[in-house]
């Protein structure tokens, strides 16, 4: 066994789970900002972080949606959150299914 080495399957599972985690984070934070439960600066910073993490995890489309959400928060455009948030949640659904599939193949 090689300490610190992971199989291709384990790496892909970890990548999908991390992407799922950041997609969910971006969606939750955007929704909470719309409901006025978190401050805009925190929402912007977290969405920016989500965009970076999603880009590095090869989820370019989700990263773009996180960036769109961040811009909407920056403009204080609550109505502008709805469409990218719905798309992001659709991505969440497919990542969730992918994660379940990878787990079942273990």
């Amino acid at each position: 066994m090689c300490w610190g080495c992971k199989s291709q399957h384990d790496r892909e599972t970890a990548r999908v789970q991390k992407a799922l985690s950041w997609v969910s984070t971006a969606g939750s934070v955007a929704q909470l900002w719309v409901e006025n439960r978190v401050p805009a600066r925190y929402a912007e910073r977290t969405l920016d972080e989500a965009r970076t993490e999603l880009t590095s995890n090869g989820e370019a489309e989700s990263a773009l949606l996180a960036a769109t959400l961040r811009d909407a928060v920056h403009r204080a455009d609550r109505a502008g959150v709805a469409a990218p948030l719905a798309s992001l949640m659709a991505h969440r659904g497919s990542l969730h299914a992918q994660s379940d599939q990878l787990e079942s193949e273990k």
Partner: protein, 405 residues
């Protein structure tokens, strides 16, 4: 009356002082990833810390010496110097993580980068240590630290399934992510048994001039205070398990955990999280800074005492000053406070045998402790602690490598 007040304040201090960046981060990661499954690690760590804190208070009350002084006098500086060096490194990393925690709490509220906050935060912590007396530091941070009870209130409001919580108290094997599961378990225990906790406690007992009449106070404070403190950490596991786990959110960044209270407290939840984190880390930063200065001064036989004016124990004051400056510099480089915390907590677990075994030997020395040496029950528990320490020591390094992958 005086003892009653001290008992109350002692329990308050133990509850408020128990919670810090280590507990918050490790509990949040454990709850988000494994729901309630790692509550057993918290329960185990709490039992260990109760024994260690009780013994360190008893040692101070009976011998009127702190642990480093006792170990140095008994074994000599040559034996003590290696554990001491490890202890200094751990204190330093923990101090940096706590300063990072305060700065991150301010980043949450203001949106300004934590790296910018590190400088004013470090200066304020230093001023606090420079100007305040031991009691002022202990009681103010502990009382304010009770704000973290908001996690307990939130957990009650959510009505977590009792059977799931209780089954989490029994050790179980993970269904997935084995390396991460054991890394989090080790880190939870490491956060609880951070050496600064019992070194600070024993030095504080010497500062407060405890004698044998304080043994019962010591026992009650250790058991009650630590148990209630653990309830706050359990509430963090439960809340992240209830809120973040169903959303598949793992805590790779503190930002991902910051909204965990907004369901229970829609308007105040976010601020309560930031305030709990900021205050807990402020108290812990003060305690770690002092514990580092205490241990250094006691190892080299310098004057020490937080209630003395800095000019009367200049080397003691210089030690925490240098430590704070270096810790500030480390955090200004942009090291992620969460990652620093998780590895430092695993290191805490790893070095427990090195720092605890000499102390446990002292607790069994009849010449030193007379009739107050460890009893059969405490020695049996001690043997288990040493065994667990050894296992943690052996498994920590590969876990840190595998769990972080």
């Amino acid at each position: 009356m005086k003892k009653g007040l001290q008992l109350f304040l002692g329990i308050l201090t133990a509850i408020g002082g128990f919670f810090d960046i280590g507990n918050l981060v490790t509990a949040a990661q454990a709850g988000a990833t494994f729901r309630f499954q790692l509550l057993w690690a918290l329960a185990l760590g709490t039992i260990i810390v109760i024994f260690l804190v009780e013994m360190s208070g008893r040692f101070a009350a009976v011998t009127k010496k702190s642990i480093p002084t006792g170990v140095r006098e008994h074994f000599g500086v040559r034996v003590w110097i290696a554990p001491f060096a490890i202890l200094v490194l751990l204190h330093f990393l923990t101090l940096a993580a706590e300063l990072g925690g305060i700065a991150f709490a301010l980043q949450l509220v203001t949106g300004i980068s934590f790296q910018i906050w590190v400088l004013p935060v470090g200066v304020l912590v230093w001023l606090f240590l420079w100007r305040a007396t031991f009691d002022a530091i202990e009681y103010s941070t502990a009382t304010l630290g009770l704000i973290a009870l908001c996690f307990v209130v939130a957990a009650f409001m959510y009505h977590p399934p009792r059977s799931d919580v209780l089954s989490g108290l029994l050790p179980s094997l993970p269904k997935q992510d084995g390396a991460k599961y054991w890394l989090y378990a080790v880190s939870i225990i490491g956060a609880l048994i951070a050496p600064y906790m019992f070194y600070f406690y024993s030095s504080g007992a010497v500062e407060d001039e405890w004698d044998k009449s304080y043994l019962m106070v010591n026992r009650i404070v250790s058991i009650t205070g630590m148990s209630f403190g653990a309830v706050i950490t359990a509430a963090v596991i439960i809340m992240t398990g209830l809120v973040l786990h169903p959303l598949d959110i793992g805590v790779d960044s503190i930002n991902q955990a910051a909204f965990v209270l907004t369901g229970a407290f829609p308007f105040w939840g976010f601020l309560l999280f930031a305030a709990s984190m900021g205050i807990a880390c402020t108290g812990a930063a003060a305690e770690v800074g002092l514990s580092l200065a205490y241990s250094t001064a006691q190892t080299f036989g310098w004057n020490w005492g937080e209630s003395l004016e800095p000019k009367k124990d200049a080397r003691f004051a210089l030690t925490y000053t240098v430590a704070i400056v270096l810790a500030m510099l480390l955090m200004m480089l942009g090291i992620d406070p969460l990652k620093l915390t998780i590895y430092t907590m695993a290191l805490n677990a790893m070095v427990l045998p090195i720092v605890s075994i000499p102390f446990l030997m002292l607790m069994n020395d009849g010449r030193l402790m007379r009739e107050f040496t460890n009893g059969i029950f405490t020695n049996a528990a001690t043997a288990i602690i040493v065994l667990i320490s050894f296992v943690l020591f052996v498994v920590s390094i590969p876990l840190v490598i595998m769990g972080s992958g």
